[in-house]
């Protein structure tokens, strides 16, 4: 049933098969959608949000397709949480329209909330309850029956590896365990769209990788996920598509591969000795002679050429040879593939944060 997304590398092997009831409403199941068109899980149109005159989101338009893992990236304060809270009907749009599974957040908030599972950014746990009591509460709030609730609770506890601690007070949980409980709460309703606000913040490496695995597994079973993250590697590995927000505006949207390609190819940085003053000239000839060179940026101050090349490493040998022929002695060469970090810096003008490459 499920159509595949651009980055098929993630959505390969492993057949779907979630325990519990078969997911419904996929691929054409949703009322007016034609059988060939997938449902839009979330549609955001010209969304604007202001808090007392201060504009936090401006003309945001994007879609989350059914079945994809969609990531929102952006520096602190970019408006990610605000977008998510609007989707969850916790905030009203100042302008524009947001639909979830075809339901408008303003006119049909109950329907919207019914299809969403939410894991807030702040650990939203009550330290005087046990893990199991949390999950039971959430199950009741989503109107699950007794036996169904018990089954779901067992499943999600297993999933986040909290079965052992289920009957302890949350007071005694570590930060990471609270976060896992949070995620478990988001999964209890067996949602159509799971909304995760920085789900792996503060988790250890092993737990993060496990969470990624669940998200992929749930994706195979048809779940749509919208997540924000500050970890670029996470976005790169997990998300089918990424939106980069900066100061309330959408500045980039696409697959991780597409965004990286969009930067104009691999980058070769060549450092010359200080006596070199004819770099512009050299750049001109290289542009003319070498078809795989896309773009050359000259930095006379640091005696550097930054060259974007289309082909992969094969470009390196002819490039060096050409420079050699022009009798420019090379001091150092650096070759790099664009990373998501480069994308991020290009579009937002700054690094996401110092420890972004933690993993």
């Amino acid at each position: 049933m499920q159509t595949h997304k651009p980055s098929a590398s993630k959505a390969s092997d492993r057949p779907a098969g979630r325990e519990g009831e078969a997911p419904s409403g996929y691929a054409g199941g949703g009322g007016d959608a034609s059988p060939y068109k997938r449902m839009k899980a979330i549609e955001i149109r010209h969304l604007k949000k202001t808090f007392n005159e201060k504009t936090v989101l401006e003309n945001l338009t994007l879609d989350v397709e059914e079945g994809e893992v969609f990531g929102m990236l952006g520096p602190n304060g970019a408006g990610k949480t605000t977008t998510i809270r609007t989707i969850l009907t916790l905030l009203k749009p100042s302008e524009g329209q947001v639909k979830v599974w075809g339901h408008d957040v303003e006119t049909q908030p109950r329907e919207v909330r019914q299809v969403l599972g939410y894991v807030p950014q702040e650990k939203a746990v009550d330290r005087f309850l046990t893990g199991r009591e949390h999950l039971t509460l959430v199950a009741d709030l989503y109107h699950l029956g007794k036996t169904e609730a018990r089954k779901r609770i067992r499943e999600v506890l297993e999933l986040v590896d909290l079965t052992q601690k289920a009957d302890d007070l949350v007071n005694s949980y570590s930060g990471g365990m609270k976060k896992k409980l949070d995620i478990a709460c988001g999964l209890i309703p067996d949602p159509k769209v799971l909304v995760l606000d920085e789900p792996t913040l503060g988790l250890d490496v092993e737990s993060r990788i496990r969470i990624w695995e669940y998200i992929r597994r749930l994706q195979h079973a048809g779940l749509t996920t919208l997540m924000t993250t500050n970890y670029l590697d996470e976005a790169d590995q997990l998300c089918d598509r990424i939106a980069i927000l900066d100061r309330g505006r959408l500045v980039a949207l696409g697959t991780p591969e597409g965004l990286k390609k969009g930067l104009g190819g691999d980058r070769v940085t060549i450092q010359f000795g200080p006596q070199q003053d004819r770099l512009e000239e050299l750049a001109g000839s290289l542009r003319k002679e070498l078809p795989f060179v896309n773009e050359i940026k000259v930095s006379p101050a640091s005696h550097e050429l930054e060259i974007r090349v289309t082909s992969n490493e094969e470009a390196l040998a002819p490039l060096i040879q050409a420079i050699h022929q022009h009798r420019h002695p090379i001091l150092a060469i650096q070759y790099s593939r664009p990373t998501l970090e480069d994308v991020f810096i290009t579009y937002t003008g700054h690094k996401i944060k110092e420890d972004s490459a933690l993993l």
Partner: protein, 253 residues
């Protein structure tokens, strides 16, 4: 409808579970009104007050004070949920907003009723205070508590929603409580008060709650009085719930 029931029960049970784990605060919450007002204050003023059985008289006031305290702190849990982000979790579920409010009413009124019964029991054991209207009067005292409490909880929840930070909330509550007590008939009958205080006490719903309980304890079944007082409290409920729901809806929007 069935859903509202499920939601409300689940939310109420959460409060009950929490309470059972905060025993200390529960015990002090129960003891405070009895120890402070009934035993200390009552004995202290027994001699000076020109009222024949001051402790019997005071019991009605203490009952109303207990409702006042519990009612006004009825929004505290909501406030902490708001600050911890737990409220976000609750509001993101497909529940009726009313369930949140109902569950608070049920829980707080349950606790308050238990407190009232404890106070009456202690007053009976220690001081032989016994409602003239008998056991049925006991039930009626609880009804008065309920009528007074509803409006208070509504106000408290509204403030919890509207005020930024629990520091401000507690400061405001501390500021409100004593004037509400002293500008009511809880400690002294209105006719003994200086003119302006007596005048202000007329606008204090607390006065009517105190008078209703007192009348049941001291006066027996004075139906017209009791019904009139209940009607006044009902007006208080309607006004505060109406005002609260307006603020509430605006905040949620």
């Amino acid at each position: 409808m069935k859903w509202i029931l499920q939601e409300t029960i689940a939310l109420t049970m959460r409060s009950v579970r929490r309470l059972s784990r905060e025993r200390i605060s529960m015990v002090f919450g129960l003891i405070q009104p009895m120890l402070f007002w009934l035993i200390l204050f009552g004995n202290l003023f027994q001699k000076t007050a020109q009222i024949p059985n001051y402790i019997s008289f005071l019991t009605g006031g203490v009952v109303a004070m207990t409702v006042l305290n519990s009612g006004l702190s009825g929004g505290v849990d909501l406030l902490f949920d708001k600050e911890s982000g737990f409220l976000e979790r609750l509001l993101s579920a497909p529940i009726s907003r009313n369930s949140l409010i109902y569950s608070r009413f049920i829980f707080v009124m349950g606790i308050t009723s238990a407190q009232i019964l404890m106070i009456l029991l202690v007053a009976y054991i220690l001081f032989g205070v016994y409602p003239l209207s008998g056991l049925a009067g006991l039930a009626f005292i609880l009804v008065v508590g309920l009528f007074f409490g509803l409006g208070l909880i509504a106000i408290s929840m509204t403030l919890a929603f509207a005020i930024k930070g629990h520091g401000n909330f507690f400061a405001l509550m501390g500021f409100l409580t004593l004037p509400l007590i002293f500008l009511s008939s809880a400690l002294v009958p209105v006719q003994y008060m200086p003119g302006w205080m007596g005048f202000l006490a007329q606008f204090n719903p607390m006065t009517y709650a105190v008078d209703a309980v007192r009348s049941i304890i001291l006066g027996g079944w004075l139906w017209t009085d009791i019904l009139k007082l209940l009607a006044i409290l009902l007006v208080f409920d309607v006004v505060s719930i109406w005002a609260s729901s307006r603020v509430f809806l605006r905040q949620l929007g």
